[in-house]
């Protein structure tokens, strides 16, 4: 396998270098460096969106979730993604119309401009920082555990993490957003191919799909229905998850940016529909890998299951391809998140292009180092930690939606609604307040609070306008 890893890994690094060099232009503008000149077509668009969204989380988190929590994971991610792509069309149309008028450097700067105040931008940036850094750290953590388990004794986990962050920083600093988008496209293709090859191998190990599920039914029938063996997939959990996922394009800046930089609405539309199909295809394969693990590695640890199912139970070339695919997956998502923080920082900075670019690059370096440090402190539950990141940033949905949908400057009172939602969520994550009240999940309650608060702000504004007219 080592020879295959060297060959395929070499090809991947070569593709990355080519992407960076092709994207590098000596006298490029700040918009070309940070936003690829707002000119991304549908094919590259779907691959970069998918790579920034899924990656290591889908490669490692989802098979493990199917293995330990059961088929409800399909509703958790695939159905929620279906709703999300519909949302992309609706939200994408409105935000792109607003961008035509107000311009776009990053979501934080964009909302600040529309509110006519710095505070909404600061709040958005703070939330993105608080929830994207751990999300980036999850990816680094996931891949370093995996590599460390696979190449036992070769390098410690932190060294693998350092290699990933080092490579990511080099090509992001050289190539900018365009290099990231191209590398995402390479990674998205590798991800889809590799995950299906592994999925088919897992089915073949049992003969066919029928035998695979028959075996799961014999060993652990609770995996075949909701709420699953640990009772995770309740309607409440799944509804709150769907809301968090539907709001990803609104509140996760790396994905909002990818909507804005699409060439036109037609490209965006094609990208959204293809993304839906891509999501179904890719998640379906993880069902089979997860069910294979449920039978073969019922009580094994996450790292053991993944290293066996993805590498050692595969043919040498497939195992090596999986290794490269995983590395690429981790690299692209982490990069998208760290670069998004750079973009958000840039949108809040003022000064000459040269000065802003310098501070943004320093910012990118600092964010990457923080993510690296965090990665040594994270737990192994990739999918659930990713969900926490989605939930956290979704607290900013009212701020962004009011900015995008209001015809006049939006009311500042909406900041209070999002800000209090964020504080309550953080208090619960730090176990200061419980995560459940009278059997109702806190995240579920928070979405009700955000919706009610937004309606109240709307009603107050309506009556104030009516009074002024009278």
């Amino acid at each position: 396998m080592t020879m295959w890893i060297l060959i395929l890994g070499g090809l991947f690094v070569l593709a990355l270098v080519t992407a960076s060099v092709k994207s590098y232009k000596r006298n490029r503008t700040l918009d070309e460096y940070m936003l690829a000149g707002f000119n991304i077509g549908p094919i590259i668009g779907v691959l970069t969106f998918a790579a920034a969204l899924f990656s290591a989380f889908i490669f490692m988190g989802m098979p493990d979730m199917f293995r330990t929590q059961g088929v409800g994971a399909w509703i958790f991610l695939a159905v929620s993604d279906g709703a999300m792509v519909f949302g992309i069309i609706w939200f994408g149309y409105h935000i792109r119309n607003k961008v035509k008028v107000a311009g776009f450097k990053g979501v934080a700067g964009f909302v600040s401009g529309l509110y006519g105040s710095k505070w909404p931008g600061y709040l958005f940036f703070l939330t993105a920082f608080l929830f994207l850094v751990p999300y980036a750290a999850i990816q680094i953590r996931g891949i370093s555990i995996f590599f460390s388990a696979t190449f036992e004794g070769l390098l410690p986990e932190w060294a693998w993490a350092l290699i990933i962050v080092g490579i990511m920083l080099i090509y992001a600093e050289i190539g900018g957003f365009k290099a990231i988008v191209y590398s995402d496209a390479i990674q998205g293709t590798v991800l889809l191919v590799v995950i299906w090859i592994i999925g088919i191998t897992c089915i073949r190990a049992f003969g066919n799909v029928e035998s695979l599920f028959a075996e799961v039914e014999r060993i652990k029938p609770e995996l075949l229905s909701v709420p699953g063996p640990n009772g995770l997939f309740t309607a409440q959990f799944l509804i709150a998850s769907m809301l968090a996922i539907v709001l990803i394009p609104v509140t996760q800046p790396q994905l909002t940016t990818r909507i804005v930089v699409m060439r036109n609405f037609r490209s965006l539309s094609r990208m959204a529909v293809s993304l839906g199909a891509f999501a179904i295809l890719i998640i379906l394969s993880t069902v089979f890998i997860g069910m294979y693990g449920a039978v073969k590695y019922t009580d094994a640890s996450t790292a053991t299951f993944l290293s066996r199912a993805l590498l050692f139970d595969q043919k040498d070339m497939v195992g090596a391809l999986a290794m490269v695919g995983l590395f690429a997956a981790c690299l692209s998502t982490t990069n998208a998140q760290i670069f998004a923080l750079g973009t958000e920082l840039r949108s809040l900075l003022k000064g000459t292009d040269k000065r802003v670019l310098l501070f943004t690059r320093i910012g990118l370096f600092i964010f990457a180092i923080i993510a690296l440090v965090f990665s040594t402190l994270m737990s192994d539950e990739l999918a659930l930690l990713a969900r926490t990141s989605f939930t956290g940033t979704s607290m900013m949905a009212p701020v962004v939606l009011f900015a995008v949908l209001s015809e006049k400057a939006p009311p500042m009172s909406i900041l209070f609604v999002s800000g209090t939602g964020l504080i309550v969520l953080l208090l619960s994550l730090f176990h200061v307040i419980p995560a459940e009240f009278s059997g109702i999940r806190l995240d579920f309650l928070l979405y009700i609070y955000l919706a009610a608060g937004s309606l109240l702000v709307l009603a107050v504004r309506y009556f104030q306008t009516k009074q002024k007219v009278a």
Binding site: V79, G82, F86, F265
Partner: protein, 79 residues
């Protein structure tokens, strides 16, 4: 005038599609798609919640495709 009528029709169809997508998302959380502790009847050898969930996801993507075709702003920012 015909252009306006066409846009109105499209707008109505687009709003109906939004309603359908919301309805479908809500139906997902009912026993119709995810009955607790039940995995029969299967389809194509897949357990009940998996094949119904697969159907919902495919329908949502189809609705997205229709929404793109019926979108009142289709072609607005072509460049």
């Amino acid at each position: 005038m015909f252009k306006d009528m066409n846009k109105k029709k499209k707008s109505r169809a687009y709003n109906v599609l939004i309603m359908l997508a919301i309805l479908l998302a809500v139906l997902t959380f009912t026993p119709l798609v995810m009955p607790y502790g039940v995995y029969q009847p299967g389809f194509l050898h897949l357990p009940y919640t998996l094949w119904t969930g697969l159907l919902v996801a495919i329908l949502l993507v189809c609705l997205t495709w229709l929404a793109v075709r019926m979108h009142p702003g289709k072609g607005e920012d072509e460049s």
